[in-house]
Amino acid sequence: MISLEGRIRSFIVDNFLFGEGENGLGGEDSLLENGVIDSTGILELVAFIQQTFEIAIQDDEIIPANLDSIDKIAVFVRRKTGTRGPQSADKA
């Protein structure tokens, strides 16, 4: 089974890096500082998370503290899907 982090990584690598850096992007690496996400990229990321994990993200939740690395996104998704538990997010 692909882990939650793996799915997020796969989306980011495919969508923003077009296959590059599959092994180079660390879980804690900042997506902004590394130029992975450009000035409009966050909207793509939010759309992906909402659709894939079936969660609604509020405007005030779209902050780097929640979304600026693979690990942060995973923590955020698990928290949002908390009622379903981490396993649910991993399977979603």
Binding site: D14, F18, D38, G41, E44
Partner: protein
Amino acid sequence: MCGICGVLNLDSAPVDPKVVVQMAEMIRHRGPDENGVHTDGKIGLGHRRLSIIDVACGQQPMPNADGSLWISFNGEIFNYVELRRDLEQRGHRFRTHSDTEVILHLYEEEGEECVRHFNGQWAFAIWDKKKDKLFLSRDRLGVRPLFYTLKNKTFIFGSEIKAILAYPDVRREIDLIGLDQVFTFWCTLTPRTIFKDILELPPGHHLAVEAGRVRTWPYWQLNYPSQYEKLAEEDWAAKLLEVLTDATRIRLRSDVPVGAYLSGGLDSTVVTSIIRRHSDAKLKTFSMVFEDPEFDERKYQREAVSFLGTEHHEIGITGADIARVFPKVIWHAEKPILRSAPAPLYLLSSLVRNQGYKVVLSGEGADEILGGYDIFKEAKIRRFWGRKPESRLRPLLLQRLYPYLDNLRSQPQAYLTAFFHVGTKDLSNPLFSHLPRWELTSRIKGFFSKDVRTALHGYDALEEIGSSLPLPYGSWDDFTKSQYLEASCLFPGYILSSQGDRMGMAHSVEGRFPFLDHRVVDLARQIPPEFKMKVLNEKHILKQAAKELVPVSVMARSKQPYRAPDSKSFISDGKATEPYVEEMLAPARIRHCGAFDPLKVSKLYDKIKEGRVMGVKDNMALLGILSTQLIIFQFIESR
């Protein structure tokens, strides 16, 4: 307006006139009215003529009275009437009524220094038989193009690169550093072009081939004061209006009717309004309208038309139109482009031509010389914030930026702040204002193939531009620095070229730009920055100068830079809108050309086909890849 080309054999071998005809034929679109060739031993000059002034007698190449000088000239010297009068008083006798002959007479008197007197836009070559010297010159700001190469012992030049490539056995190869520069700045840094060993004469430069040597040197440079004269705002505004009015007046000199582009923005409306005030003749105006409301400005165009009473013509542009003409656009632009914006201008010039017009005035240049672009505003806000990085209120000003970019506008403040974040050390970077744009664009170099990246290893485009800044740059204020970067790089390399000369001349239409009259440019650079952008109000001084000239709605609207639909023009409903798009982006084709990574291009293509959200970077990447593929196909592979 015309096209020029020529050959000089440094080993004195005679030039074959047929070769010069062949070269000139490649730029027939620049001058469909007449052609001319002059060869004399080792020199050959070619000319394609678009007859505008002295239609009956202005044929070229043109000799002086004793045949010791021959000129091939593209452009206009707008003050030729006054210059001719002075020359006649000094005993010169003229055979024609053309501005071309004025250049010859003034060159006889002053040699290379003659250009100091010219108010115009030009690229010309003079063969000086007595001195055994070929002299080339390009206008101050780079309105008209001029390229050259040295192949073994032959010097070859032309208005467009395709004329040079028509010379037998000229090497056709992509210059990878040029490609890197386009994928950073949207254009190459002169003299480099996208073609290896083919060079562009920079704006404001001369070139001479003499005693077997090719030499280039600047005769004019963009310069700004480090201190400004203390004049009241209304005095600057009055001066600006006065000189802009005269700049417009002399740009109406023509023996064929002159029209105007009307974009719906401030600059073209000001120019059109000045024309209306100084001419009783019927005035035709032209504009494009888009089906996509994100890009459409018809509301303001129509308000301007109704205010000014012009005979207006529109051309409707769809994404399908853009995709259809795109290969031709690249053929004319001769460089990769990262936006589709040149395509509608290509279509607009066809409308002008179909209406029987060859000459249009427009507001080009106002944003560069008077501080109109959002990048100036962005830099001002980022600097203000960078001086107090802990401030929570200062970054809120970022919301005032780019009101026309929906994707950017819909970003939460936290991300807007994070993206434009300024560290205190950034403030001292001489490229401060343009770094976010150039760094963002540079990200698309991730699509380069491994081979290209290996070849470019160690090259840094930002380092190159940083090391080419003029000496006084450090003494200029921050706003002026950002103006210089814009006016010296993107403006000649993309705006005046890919969106300007090339798209007009594709349909034999000459653009004339009152804001680029060197007197207007000289005045603008003396105007203190606080009058150009007052707080965050762009082109404030022009608005003051033109209060009476434009409708209130046009005056009050926020700046909307001209843009056009990008990737969705080429890929829609999950498929390519034109067969060539699919062909050019096919993995085998990408692999064959060698510039890009086929896997990454496929992933980008899939992303667009699947209709996923497209970022700025993605749009630029698609356009850059597609246009580079077309350059390779049309220029490198097709002979």
